[in-house]
Symmetry: C2
Subunit: 321 residues, 2 copies
């Protein structure tokens, strides 16, 4: 069992690689290789099996062909241009998120070995005048180019699976928080930084009001769900391979209160409230009232409380128990 | 006001061109040119304004660039590989329906003149385990590559419109019947030929059982709706530019009974019943219980009865009143 993680240099890709390296098996078989591929040759992860790293530019088919081979039994396709950048740079977003996804799936189709392909979609596929709550059969109506590109990826995953070219599954990730590392160009970046920076004694800016509700999942649970997602049997997926990944809805106030409970009242004092019309406009188009019935039934799970999200961050990133 | 019809050599393209030529105006302005473009240089249509014809291969951007210019105020994008062929020849379907749509929209984006673009989608975007009835906010879950490619076209039309690159609208066409001309590679081809061939004294094969229900629209109403579709004001479309085009649900039995009423009992005797597992499998995945609330509200209409469909065919194609 060989596993390839495209986007293996990213926060989730690195954690997923390390989790698979520790677990040692997938879909009932021993993992004999973990390959991490990203636009910049990724850092290797600790594992009990060989770990290889590869530079890949999924926007170019020739680069995809060099990295993606018939050796891989499971391929994670996590690489993407994030929402803020895909909105600001339309062509970049199309090249990576639209054509990049197509290039990887086409490569897999022509190889003919029919691997499991796990695609990370996003709750940014939802939006517009579609009524709440969001259920398994809710119309996808993205209000960002990123969301459109992810919705296209889902349609491709479904059709390539239906045609028997591969065994695909797509999960619409909630906003991942508390995300380690630096702020990025995602419009949702602040949803981690208002916790992460204060926990590190650094000031953070919150660009929305404290009653802003959103749908969250911790990196730890996300990785658990991505592993479970690869292990689901094809026949249990039915006629639609794309689904919400479970998360939980919290307001900014609840998120900050959770930090207070876990880490005391001081970190929250480092949050500066500074409204940002551009970010507010993007995130207001996102949905948060989600009922991920199908994925819960298939065994995927959410965090129990945002306090857990804060604790996981402190344990996994700051080494605190 | 100049109008370009891509797919202008097809049944609907030719009728649309002729209807616009007769009408003489669109969106409150006089039509000064009708351009018909198709993979083979189309036949001109009668019109009170100049009519030009062009060969175009939308799978190739260079060909698109030669035909699509900033002169056009309204562009109809009707060209497509039909369902049966797109299912049998995956790459052909992708080249025309997926990349062809992208190539046209990209050309329009780079020209920057923001025309109205009317895209013909299909009810083949629906399918799978999604519950009936199909409403405006029903999840798109195509079970054919053709349906997937049309759903992608809708997503592009929506995002290019949201970004202000063009003023798009997409209509999910019901099965068009009674379609004149020859049978084609569409899995739905028999839904016209079982009426058309008998009315012309020719034998026809019905590959499904008589209780098979489907959702139909006459070519005449389809063209009326495509013209109305171009005239809708952008602000009335809301945050989703794609919608069902109204049609009506009939069983094969009802369709044949309508022919009996209009043309007497003899034509139906020319129908041979011969089940076809491949066609039955494709069409069984299609949906028919549609509630096109949004398009009806915007003034689009369906036929009053299938007897009208038969009468329109006899009037428009056989010259009978």
């Amino acid at each position: 069992m060989k596993v390839l993680i495209i986007g293996g240099g990213g926060v989730i890709g690195q954690k997923l690689g390390a989790a698979l390296g520790k677990k040692g098996h997938l879909r009932g078989r021993e993992i004999s290789q973990i390959a991490l591929a990203d636009i910049v040759d990724p850092k290797p992860v600790p594992a009990g099996c060989p770990v290889t790293t590869h530079a890949i530019d999924i926007a170019h088919r020739a680069s995809v062909d060099q990295v993606v081979s018939a050796d891989y039994d499971v391929i994670y396709l996590l690489a993407a241009i994030v929402s803020g950048q895909a909105e600001a740079e339309f062509e970049t977003g199309m090249n990576i998120n639209f054509f990049g996804t197509y290039n990887v799936l086409e490569r897999v189709r022509t190889l003919g070995n029919k691997p499991v392909v796990v695609f990370s979609s996003s709750i940014a596929v939802y939006g517009g005048e579609v009524p709440d709550p969001i259920i398994d059969h809710t119309f996808l109506n993205p209000q960002t180019s990123y969301g459109m590109q992810k919705a296209v990826g889902e349609l491709l995953i479904n059709d390539y699976s239906r045609k028997g070219f591969l065994d695909g599954r797509a999960f619409r990730l909630p906003t991942i928080s508390v995300r380690p590392g630096k702020a990025n160009a995602a419009a949702s970046s602040f949803m981690s930084s208002i916790i992460r920076e204060p926990l590190n004694g650094v000031e953070a800016v919150c660009p929305v009001t404290e009653d802003f509700p959103h749908y969250y999942l911790s990196p730890r649970k996300c990785v658990e769900n991505l592993i479970k997602g690869a292990e689901i049997e094809a026949q249990d997926l039915g006629m639609n391979r794309a689904m919400m990944m479970p998360g939980r809805m919290w307001t900014i106030r609840q998120v900050i209160d959770a930090m207070d409970v876990v880490a005391g009242p001081d970190p929250a004092k480092l949050i500066r409230w500074e409204s940002d019309a551009v970010i507010q406009k993007i995130v207001n188009g996102w949905r948060y009232d989600m009922r991920p019935e199908k994925s819960l039934k298939l065994g995927l799970t959410a965090d129990d409380s945002f306090e857990d999200n804060v604790r996981y961050y402190m344990q996994d990133e700051l080494g605190k128990s």
